[in-house]
Each structure stands twice: as structure tokens, then as C-alpha cells.
Amino acid sequence: MLAITGFGFIVLYSAVGENGSLLLRQAVRCGVGFCAFLVLAQVPPKYFRVWTPWVFCGVFGLLLLVMIDGQVGKGAQRWLSLGVVSIQPSEFMKLAVPLMVAWFMHDRSLPPTLPQVTALVLIVLVPALLIARQPDLGTALLVVAAGGLTILLTGVSKRIIAAVGVVGLVSAPIAWQFMFDYQRARVFTFLSPESDPLGAGYNIIQSKIAIGSGGIFGKGWLNGTQAHLEFLPERSTDFIFAVMAEEFGLMGLLLLLALYLVLVGRGLYIALAAQDTFTRLVAGSLTLTFFVYVFVNAGMVCGLLPIVGVPLPLVSAGGTSMVTLMAGFGMLAAISGQKKRLAA
């Protein structure tokens, strides 16, 4: 499948600017993710539909567990220790929420009625609020984005979309009241990074220097001074995009973005060709969510968006997000396979 070749390509990129054990660990995660991909790709999509409520409830239960008994890392309670590995249930929620929305709408006719939309909004917002309380605003917003896009795809009427938009604008100042200081600081930093070059603004300034100094062709592999003299924070995770920008320049980034677009295009095509409401919605929302990650990460690194902890899909080091994404692509592949089976 076209998607897989895309992976291999992009994953190789992650070798850039890293070394040794970190790379090995990432390879292991990648392997686990790939297994998840292969397994899920073999499953007929109707089983996804059957499992969805259970998966959703399970992940929701894990979220509650984290609230009660989670590990606190860097001031936020989001990890759950399962013996050898720690997992972040909120990552799985990114997958579970769109699935649940699609499941809910499967037997109902589109577009959804107002009460149905209300139910859908609850499916999205309740887990998102739990995650926001961890506190992990970035992931919470992504869950909202994933769920919201799915609802959008159900063909909800333009009037309701407009109404939600208005409510969103009105509630923004209220949300501001409930935000943590560091979250507010990030918004301020985004508006004016130069105001605090030593503290919160440091990341974004260094990241912009890295990208800008890369130029059109980049400084060459392993030659990025920003990255290798360690000016750039979180090089292997959230800011890996800047490392690539510095070392491979605009050309490298365009190639990467093109690959991402191919994946997104392929996903949307699968969605259009899918046979029933559930698979259609799942394929569409998984693909669009994937793009949202790419956009949010790239946008934050080059200063278009405020800094939220979103990894660059398939490239950043980090286990749960890699596995979640691979699982998502596995479902896409399964949905695309379903069509072929029916045709045969």
C-alpha cells in the first residue's frame, strides 16, 4: 500500500540528529506501532464498529484511573504506569473519540438532528475536559479537534456550525479564567516571544533561528549548529521539525510536506470510497486529525501557533503517539481493504 512506503521514508528521517539508544528505543516503538498497523489492517472494519463502545469506555476508565492514581511528571498528571511501560491514556483518546462519534452516527441518518449533535458534543467534550484537567491542554484541544472534525464530516448543518463558533468565541474569556499560569504564559509568549527571551520565549526564538538559518538547501545532515550545539530544546520530540528545517532546508521540508499530503490525500480517497457511514467517518476523521497534528506541530515550531506539546506525526520520538498513529493507519488500510473484498 502507498501509505506504508510513505511511512518507511518518513520514519528514516527521524534518524536525523539523534543517536544510539534513543534511536533504538524509537525503532522498537516503531516496530510495535507497525505490528499494530499490520494486525489492524487485517481486521474487517465491521469489528471496529462492534469494539468501539468498549474501547471508548476502556480508555475513558483509564483516564479516570490516571486522575486518581497517575504519575506526576513535570507537574502534570498524565502517565499511568503499567509495570514495565508507562502509557498516556489521553493519547488513545485521540483515536477513541472519533471512533465513538462515528459509531454513534452509524445507524442514524445523516445529517444529525440537533439532539443528536448535542449527544455528539458531549462524547467529545467530557473526555476533553478530563484531559484538560490533567492538565494537558494541548492534547485536550486535539481531542476536540478530532471529534469536531468527525462531527463536521457527518454533515451537520451550517447554522449549527456557526452557533458553535459563536459559543466558542464567547467562552474563550471564561476558559482563560480556568487556565494555569504556564498555559497563559504560553499564549503571551506566542504573542510576543521577545518579551521573555530567557524563559518561555527561548524555545520559539531558537526554533525560528534554526529554521531561518537553514535556508533553501539546509546546512546538511548532522551539520545543524542550532541542534548540535544544543540551543534547540526538545530536539528529538516536539521540535524535530526545526532540526530538519535547519539541516535539510526548504527543499527537505517541502518533500516532507508533500509526503504528508500524499498520505492525507490517500486517506481522504479511502474515506470517499468507503462503504458505510461508520468507515467513511472514521477514515475521514483519522486522516484529517493526522493533518491537524502535522499542521499544529509545524505551525508551532515556525511561530504560527502557540506552543502546545504536539509531536510531529511519525517523526518525533515518543511511544504512545507513534502507536496510536500506526493503529489509525491500520484501520485506514483495513477500510480500504474492505472495498476490495467487496469488489472481488
Partner: protein
């Protein structure tokens, strides 16, 4: 026709709707991508000159500045933890080519104490390349030895740093705690930015639980460096450098000073009185929950941890049979023995299950109705006719066997729970054990075998003298004694009574936290029990009389002797030690002055024999300390 086609048309319509939405989204995707590309073109093509200059030319690096750790004082202002200047060997990881080789050479030159080189190398590697990492502390002569060879070690440097020092060494260690090098485990939980310039972190005690207050906030200094990362201009090293345009400095905020509830006079007196014996001493101010002394013996010298403990020394400490690292005062669990008799007496009075004036004959043993098993008194020939008062004064076991049976295990357990047994007291340092107040429910949960889950009447009998399953920590015992002294009022035990801003000198007092007290129906019950405790130290037959003779204050107390019912796993092979370690634990609780108690103390001497001979003299030494009375004889040595 209409009806059959309807689902089909719906499907078509739905698919159409979906298609239109997908197309809208696809357009959105393309627009956003175009926006990204536009931004990248702006950064990488249009403005690339500007950013290349920033990156390739002279650049600015931000070097962290470590905050000075707050000092720790006792309640009278005596310094118990300070910072001393000391030479340190530091590594700048990115400037070292062969880290293992360099570390090996340093070790051969005896410049690194015998630490685990592999772990040290890993710690260095886990730091960011430009972060200076402290390898260890050097004596004056070591520093001189390194100074002449410095040219051979690029990336290794000598710097004068501050190292924690504890003037009282081991005397306060189980309360104050100690600092040590930041380990890879610590790195997982701390904010790396805040600790970028810090090499030590609180490991136990107050040093650990008030780490955030003591540590302070990191500062920064911008330096100009060239493309290879070499420092070209450092404002700190040039006169007036702070004025350099574009180079910012943010001074670190020093940590706050911490004022402890501990009174070092009591702490030292207690440690001296314990001598080489194993055990624990806890003294509490019943009016506030302030811990006046918190001693666990044997102790150890925290300065060795602060200066960098060698691996061998650490192994020696952890494998020591006496387990000096173990905080007996907080985590040691002992059968409380007869020290809980006053509390049980109070419970029985409150419950109406005992008439304080009624005499019961003690013939040296007690039997349950319908059983021939004899529960023996510690005094073989018995105590004769006993009422509640004399039974506490002489610590008659038979009287309390009967009292426990008549009170019943359920009421007995709940009364002990009200005094704080069976649950952590909530002291403001970690590592506290919960202890055990046995109950039917506890036994059901504790044992897997249904035959073991049944509560036997005989277990109630021995609970009356604090034996059997019951376990209490010395802290709980002192806490409960404080509640007796304060007629039921209880405060959360605390080690911190305030903080002082290192810069402004502003003192911020922490309020005592009162918790649920021990409630009794008739306040006169308190007086009855407390009078009996006064009798323990003042009446001719009182078990605590000898130890408390001639005090310039009135003191009430209780002694206890607890059987050691099991042999530790480690001990059983050591023939010589077996006998000594099977001896009874000596316990003593006391409070003074009797009319308006200011101090409550609990003492446990492991394998010390009887409470009146082993533990009560230590309690006496603690109570004497505020009066400046030291060493009133060698009787307890």
C-alpha cells in the same frame, strides 16, 4: 415506489453530503499547507540572511546560575544545615571527547572518590552538552593536584561551589535529612530547567519534603559564544559586563531558610542518652504538634552524603546489621506494650465497662472462662488487689487482660484509632509507617486462610497489654501521649514552624494544624488516667519512679516492655547476636510539667530489656534538657 427507493436515495444523499464535506476539508488542508509553506518561505528564503547571521555569527548562549540553598535552623535559631564553599570538579560534556577515558584517569589520580564510573558517565551523558556537571568535591590538596594537571583535561574544570554541611553531623539526621547528588531517578521528577545549575537535591527528611522552598529559583546569564560553542564574552567575568547590550542576566532567587520545630538541646540530649543502643526518641509539644526531638539510633553522618559518598561506604551503610539509614522514629513498628494502658483505661472508663474503684485480685495470671490457658503477669507472684489507678501505676497485666476482655476488641480498637494509631499521623516528612490496630476486619483482610481469619478471644486478652498484632511507630506513641497530655486535643505533628526569606529576612510562620481530638463523655476521666500516670513516676510502687527521682518539674508517664516475638531474617545466622536481639524492647512515655504539659516524649530502646531501666532514663534526659541539666549519672549507660 417511493417507499422502496427511500433508503437508496438517503444513501446517495448522505454520500453526496459527505463528499462535499470532504472536499471542503481538502481545500482547508491545502490552504493551511500553503500557509505553512508561505511561512517557511518567509523564514527560509526571505529572512534567511537575518537568521543565518544570528546562527552562524556570534551567538548568545544562556548559562544557568544556581540559586543558593536555604539554611535550616532549629527553633532557637541554631544553624543545623549550612552551605560551605568547597572545590568541585566539574565537567562540560560537549567539550570532552573520551568521557570514560577521562574519568578513568581522574580516578587513577585519586580525584574522584570511588564512585561507580559507569553510573557517573551516564549521569554526565544525560545532561545537555553545555550544562556543567559536578563530578565531585575535592579537598584542598586534591584541588592543587588537579590544578597543575588541568591542561591535560579539556572540558574538566575546577570551580568553587557551595556544599551542604551539617554542623551537628548525625545528631539530627533523621529529622533534617540530607542532600546528595542528583540521580537519574531524581531527574525524572524535577524540572530540569530549574536544576540546570544545581548539583545536589534533598534526599530525605526536611531537606526532601521542603526541597522546593529550600532550592530557590535558577537564574540565567547570557554569554556570547562562537560557532564552536566557546565563550567569547561572559558578563560575569568582565567588569561591568552586565551592561553589555543584548546580554541579559537574571540573578537566581536564593532558597528560603527553614526554621524547624526541633530543639537541638533536646535532640542532642536524647542522642547522648541513647548512646550506642538502637531505638528511637520522639518529643512533641502537645500544644502545637511541634516535634521537639526526633531521634533514631544509630544515626549516620549526613555530611558524607553531601560531600559525595563512595560506593563502598554506601554499601557498608545499607548492609549494616543495625541499619543506620532506617528511620526508626517514623517507620519502625513496635508492639507498644504497657505504654498504651492509660489509653485503654480511658477507653474503658468512657465505655462504662470498668468501675475505677472496684478491686480485682491479681494472682499472677489470668484465664478466660472455660479455658485453662494462663496469661501470665510480668510479676510472677501477682500484684494482689488492684483498681484502675494502681493497675496503671504498677502496670498490672492481669487487670488489663480482664479490662480488654470486658471492653471488647471492637471498642478497644476504635479507641486506639482515635489516638492516632493504625494510620500515618500526617507528619510533614515522608517515610512514615501506618502501624497496625488489629480488629476483626483487619484480620479478615490480612490472612488468606479462612481458619486464620477468625478473631480469637485470646487475641483480645493480649491486646490489653499492647502485645500481639498491634504495632505502633515511636512517632505515633509520642503523638498519642501528647493527646493524653493535652486532654484529647491533637495536632498534626510537624517539623517546620516557619520560613524566612533569605533576601528580605521576612519570617513567615506556619500555623499549627489541629485535627480531630479524642472525645470522652466525662472530662473527669482524663484526670483519673493522668493522675495514675503521675503515680507511675511518684508513688513508691510506680514503675517509672527510679528514673524520674528528683526532677525540678512534675512528670507523668508510663513504662512498657514489649516481647520480641520474631527474629529478623538477617539475624538468625549470627550466633553471638541472637540472644541480645531476642531481648525485650524497653519503652517509656512521659509528659511534663504535669499541670500544664509542654512536652510529651516516647522512647523505645530495642532489646534494651525493661522499659523502666532502659527507656525511662532516656525520657528523663529529654525532659531535663530544657532545664540545662545534663548527665545525671551513668546509671543508664
Amino acid at each position: 415506489m417511493e417507499n422502496t427507493e427511500r433508503p437508496f436515495r438517503d444513501q446517495m444523499r448522505e454520500q453526496k453530503l459527505f463528499q462535499s464535506r470532504v472536499i471542503v476539508c481538502a481545500v482547508g488542508v491545502l490552504l493551511l499547507t500553503a500557509m505553512l509553506v508561505g511561512r517557511l518561505v518567509q523564514l527560509q528564503v526571505v529572512d534567511t540572511q537575518h537568521f543565518t547571521e544570528l546562527s552562524e555569527g556570534n551567538r548568545i548562549r544562556t548559562a544557568p546560575l544556581s540559586p543558593t540553598r536555604g539554611l535550616i535552623f532549629d527553633r532557637n535559631g541554631l544553624l543545623v544545615a549550612e552551605n560551605r564553599p568547597m572545590w568541585q570538579l566539574v565537567a562540560v560534556p560537549e567539550e570532552i571527547d573520551d568521557l570514560d577515558g577521562v574519568l578513568n584517569t581522574l580516578k587513577r589520580l585519586d580525584l574522584l572518590s570511588d564512585v561507580d564510573l559507569e553510573e557517573l558517565a551516564n549521569n554526565v551523558r544525560s545532561r545537555r552538552g553545555f550544562e556543567r556537571f559536578t563530578l565531585g568535591n575535592l579537598s584542598e590538596s586534591q584541588a592543587a593536584r588537579f590544578a597543575v594537571r588541568r591542561h591535560r583535561f579539556p572540558g574538566i574544570d575546577l570551580q568553587e561551589g557551595l556544599v551542604r554541611h551539617y554542623p551537628y553531623a548525625g545528631a539530627g539526621v533523621h529529622a533534617v535529612g540530607y542532600v546528595g547528588s542528583i540521580s537519574s531517578d531524581d531527574l525524572e521528577v524535577i524540572d530540569r530547567g530549574e536544576y540546570a545549575a544545581t548539583s545536589q537535591i534533598g534526599k530525605t527528611g526536611v531537606e526532601r519534603s521542603y526541597e522546593t522552598i529550600l532550592h530557590g529559583q535558577v537564574g540565567y546569564r547570557q554569554q556570547e559564544v562562537n560557532a564552536q560553542g566557546r565563550v567569547l564574552l561572559d558578563p560575569a567575568s568582565t567588569e561591568g559586563g552586565e551592561g553589555q547590550p543584548g546580554l541579559l542576566t537574571r540573578l537566581p532567587t536564593p532558597g528560603k531558610h527553614v526554621v524547624l520545630s526541633i530543639d537541638m538541646r533536646l535532640q542532642l540530649a536524647g542522642a547522648r542518652a541513647m548512646g550506642v543502643q538502637r531505638g528511637a526518641v520522639v518529643a512533641i509539644d502537645p500544644r502545637s504538634g511541634d516535634l521537639l526531638a526526633l531521634i533514631s539510633t544509630p544515626g549516620f553522618d549526613p555530611n558524607r552524603f553531601a560531600a559525595g559518598l563512595s560506593r563502598n561506604d554506601y554499601v557498608a551503610l545499607t548492609t549494616d546489621l543495625d541499619n543506620p539509614l532506617f528511620n526508626r522514629a517514623l517507620a519502625g513498628r513496635y508492639p507498644p506494650g504497657s505504654t498504651i494502658k492509660p489509653m485503654l483505661g480511658l477507653a474503658a472508663l468512657d465505655h462504662g465497662s470498668v468501675d475505677p474503684h472496684e478491686d480485682h485480685y491479681c494472682g499472677g495470671y489470668f484465664t478466660l472462662p472455660g479455658s485453662t490457658h494462663r496469661y501470665r503477669d510480668w510479676r510472677e507472684q501477682g500484684h494482689g488487689a488492684m483498681n484502675l489507678h494502681s493497675a496503671i501505676v504498677e502496670s498490672c497485666d492481669v487487670y488489663f487482660y480482664r479490662l480488654a476482655v470486658e471492653l471488647g476488641i471492637d471498642s478497644l480498637g476504635s479507641s486506639l484509632t482515635a489516638f492516632g494509631f493504625g494510620a500515618p499521623t500526617g507528619i510533614d516528612v515522608s517515610g512514615e509507617a501506618a502501624g497496625i490496630v488489629p480488629s476483626r476486619e483487619w484480620k479478615r483482610q490480612q490472612f488468606a486462610n479462612p481458619a486464620d481469619q477468625v478473631w480469637f478471644p485470646g487475641e483480645t486478652v493480649i491486646a490489653g497489654i499492647g502485645q500481639g498484632y498491634m504495632q505502633a511507630t515511636p512517632l505515633q506513641l509520642a503523638h498519642a501521649t501528647a493527646a493524653l497530655a493535652a486532654a484529647g486535643r491533637r495536632f498534626k505533628p510537624r517539623l517546620l514552624i516557619g520560613t524566612e526569606d533569605a533576601v528580605s529576612g521576612v519570617f513567615e510562620e506556619a500555623e499549627p494544624v489541629e485535627i480531630d481530638g479524642v472525645a470522652v463523655a466525662d472530662e473527669a476521666h482524663w484526670q483519673r488516667v493522668r493522675d495514675a500516670m503521675l503515680g507511675v513516676t511518684s508513688e513508691p510502687n510506680g514503675t517509672g519512679r527510679t528514673a524520674m527521682l528528683g526532677t525540678p518539674y512534675t512528670v507523668a508517664g508510663k513504662t512498657g516492655t514489649a516481647q520480641v516475638f520474631s527474629v529478623g531474617q538477617d539475624e538468625e545466622y549470627d550466633e553471638e547476636n541472637v540472644d541480645e536481639r531476642l531481648r525485650d524492647h524497653g519503652l517509656s512515655v512521659a509528659f511534663a510539667p504535669f499541670d500544664a504539659p509542654e512536652i510529651a516524649v516516647a522512647v523505645i530502646v530495642e532489646n534494651g530489656g525493661g522499659g523502666s531501666t532502659a527507656a525511662a532514663p532516656v525520657a528523663r534526659a529529654i525532659l531535663d534538657a530544657p532545664f540545662g541539666i545534663e548527665d545525671h549519672g551513668d546509671s543508664y549507660e
